[in-house]
Amino acid sequence: MISLKKNFNIAQFQSLIALFVLCLALALLTDNFMTTDNFWNVMRQISVNVCISVGMTLVVLTAGIDLSVGSILAFCGAVTAGLLKNGLSIPSLNLFIGFTVLGAIVAGFLIGGGLGFVNGYAVTKFKVPPFVATLAMLTMARGFTMLWTKGHPITGLGDSFGFLGTGWFLGIPMPVWISGIVVITAVILTSKTRFGRYIYAIGGNENASRLSGIPINKVKIWVYSIAGLLAAVGGVLVTARLDSAQPNAGISYELDAIAAVVIGGTSLSGGRGTIWGTVLGAIIIGVLNNGLILMNVSPFWQQVIKGMVILLAVIIDKSNQKSE
């Protein structure tokens, strides 16, 4: 019993220990890692991944997966930028609808939530495996992005919108504030609400949850919608940071999000994991990326190393499950 308890405690803190070791190694190996500028640089860079990883965590906790977040991010960023810059013209009614920054962002969020809802609906009502449903959405959303942007970036979005991606408030970059709000909301949602308990219950044992009267389909649709919404938040952050909506934004972001979730200790079979773990996972990936760049490691080797870290995290997770 004592040994089991010890294992459990170590497993709980393994991401934190990994991050500490990583930071220590980078501080010794590079000159610029332990500087304030680099700290905020890393935090700004991981903000987008934190947002989409939080959504991914909720999906993975229900034993699902969402491969479409990168494409949804691109589409929502493009919609927000397009509406902000060009508005909507309806020639048949001789009507022009202009969008303020708030309006364009709300529209982007609604599109993200809507596409997430379609994912959830396909998974629950048509029993399409999450992998397939969201893979289809990945392709569709990328196509929508190309159609909306005609393959060209949308640029020149204005200072007030750009502030969301590049501005500072009380000495902290805006993307960090936004991702922080997302994280705290998700932590409250998963740990203090009935909805959060339902998510864990469904991922732990779906049949038992159904028999207990949990509205599984409703919860899953909400979870996929939230994942879509958070991808849209990421899309707005990316677009604001670059002052440009790129049609090829967000490619392979879903893999970084899954990596953050897995490294953070969330079980891919569902029912186990925390938002804080995912945040740590995202920070580890961000620090790893930053450290490899500071050490002038080739981008090709960076991919290999990131893949190995993810594999190692899954192996450790599996061995923890066995010991539990």
Partner: protein, 215 residues
């Protein structure tokens, strides 16, 4: 006992009321509506018109710039002596990269009329005058007249190249293509793009600004 359902209903009404007010506030601050024709008229006043800009500089500044350009044979000789100083003296560039744009002029004998270009024998060199693929920023950047920092929106800056290339495609190329034949003597002014690191002088590709058949 009878007050509980009423209380619940009141709470629900308050919740819905707050929701509707919040939605109305968000909606009010999110969009504005105006007649499309009025918006289009406003846009015409504020949107950068690249075609009008090109029309404005075509006869004066641009023509003057392209008349004042380096003879292509001299440029090739200069490259053979010192690449770096030739780039420094003669090229225009947007940034700090290896690409430079040069205004050139010359006269040569048509050695071939191909589907996409016309080849000229200029001294001992073969020069390729582009007649089909008039793309890129060579004409704009070689002119040295247009600076990127003058434009807040890079799309506006890029649209100048599009307008310039369009005008060349529509006004310069058709009359030249319809008359040119092998053996003709052709005078040209135009722009070339060269990479300092991978310099290839074998068959320079000229985007023409003027083309004149002299026999």
């Amino acid at each position: 006992m009878s007050t509980k359902p009423t209380e619940a209903m009141n709470n629900k009404a308050i919740k819905y009321g707050i929701g509707v007010v919040a939605l109305a506030l968000v909606g009010y601050n999110s969009i504005y509506i105006q007649p499309l024709d009025q918006k289009l008229a406003e846009n015409q006043q504020t949107v950068f018109n690249a075609k009008a800009y090109v029309d404005g500089i075509w006869n004066q500044d641009l023509s003057k710039a392209y008349q004042d350009c380096t003879d292509i044979s001299q440029l090739i000789d200069s490259f053979n002596q010192d690449v770096n100083s030739t780039f420094e003296k003669n090229s225009h560039a947007l940034g700090i990269g290896n690409i430079g744009y040069f205004r050139v002029k010359g006269e040569g004998i048509v050695s071939a009329v191909n589907e996409n270009n016309v080849l000229l024998q200029v001294g001992s060199s073969i020069i390729e005058i582009e007649t089909e693929f008039i793309f890129g920023n060579a004409l704009r950047d070689a002119s040295g007249l247009v600076k990127i920092n003058d434009y807040e929106d890079t799309a506006d800056f890029n649209s100048i190249s599009e307008a310039l290339n369009d005008r060349i495609r529509q006004e310069v190329i058709p009359s030249f293509r319809s008359k040119v034949k092998e053996g003709d003597s052709v005078k040209f002014e135009g722009a070339i793009e060269l990479n300092k690191v991978h310099l290839n002088l074998d068959q320079l590709e000229v985007i023409p600004f003027t083309l004149q058949i002299s026999s």
